[in-house]
Amino acid sequence: MKKVLVLDDDVEIHEIVKAYAKGSFEVSCFGRIDQAMEELKQTQVDLVLLDIGLEDGDGIRFFAENKDFLAQRNCKILLLSGEKSLSKKLEAFHLGAVDYVVKPFEPLELIARVRANLASEEQRQEWYVKKDIRFNLESGTVFLEEEGELNEVPLSPIEFKLMMFFAKNEGRAFTRTQLLDKVWGETLHVSERTVDQHVSKLRKKVKSQFFEIRTSRALGYRFTALK
């Protein structure tokens, strides 16, 4: 059964989520950030219901500071808040929240949203999505979303593998040698120039509105958000 962690300093919210979640998913509840972090480190949690106004900190800040940690664990964030402002919602979605529910909430609706997000994770496993770049893991194809349409980008198998590697390691710089090891594998004897040629092709083919492969001086290449 999927696991949901509630991080909210109001125990009445804990109780209502537990009451309505029965049979749908497992729930563990915490009122403090340090307690929740301890649990997140020890247990595979699928989704966190995260309150923004916590007694011991700001939920948005907690999310921002632990974004990579949570992403590495495939842990989704659904924010709960009494704050209705558009700017707060946009801030949450910009960080990667899967949903934002304003308090007071209708319990049935909240549970439905949680269930939909947990289910969509199962359905999406065929796909790896990086904003406008969509990787179909079954067919090994890449699509770019442009003005609401999905357009296939013709990539060779090794280009697909390299693109996927970059996408999954956003922000990290890799030397050519590291890329050869990670993507081509240690058994193949290819030169470092091969990496340059493939990166050059990817830059021409995968024209994302959000990301680019940047040359990192002395290090190699880095897949990162467009400035």
């Binding site: 109001d10 009445e12 919210i13 109780e15 209502i16 009451a19 309505y20 308090k103 007071p104 209708e106």
Partner: protein, 102 residues
Amino acid sequence: MLIKVSIDLEDILPKYLENRRKEVDELKAFLASKDLDSLKTRGHRLAGNAPSYGMEALGSLGVKIERDVQNNDLTNMEGYIQEIENFLNSVEVEYVDEDEDW
């Protein structure tokens, strides 16, 4: 005052109402000691949780408490706390199936 709420709340609503009754004395104490931070926090929580328990009236009072504390206006605070107490003393709950028309 009769309030119809979802049968899903049957196990937890009695405890919720009991907690609110205990909270009335705490709210009075916060007001007496001018502990505005605690008053605001409790008002905020009440605003955020009461409607989910089917208690819209309590939620509205929570909104007023939080708002007035933010505005440093304690003129009506005693009245709000009294309204919470009156509500809790008079509320009767009927649990209904969510699928029913109510």
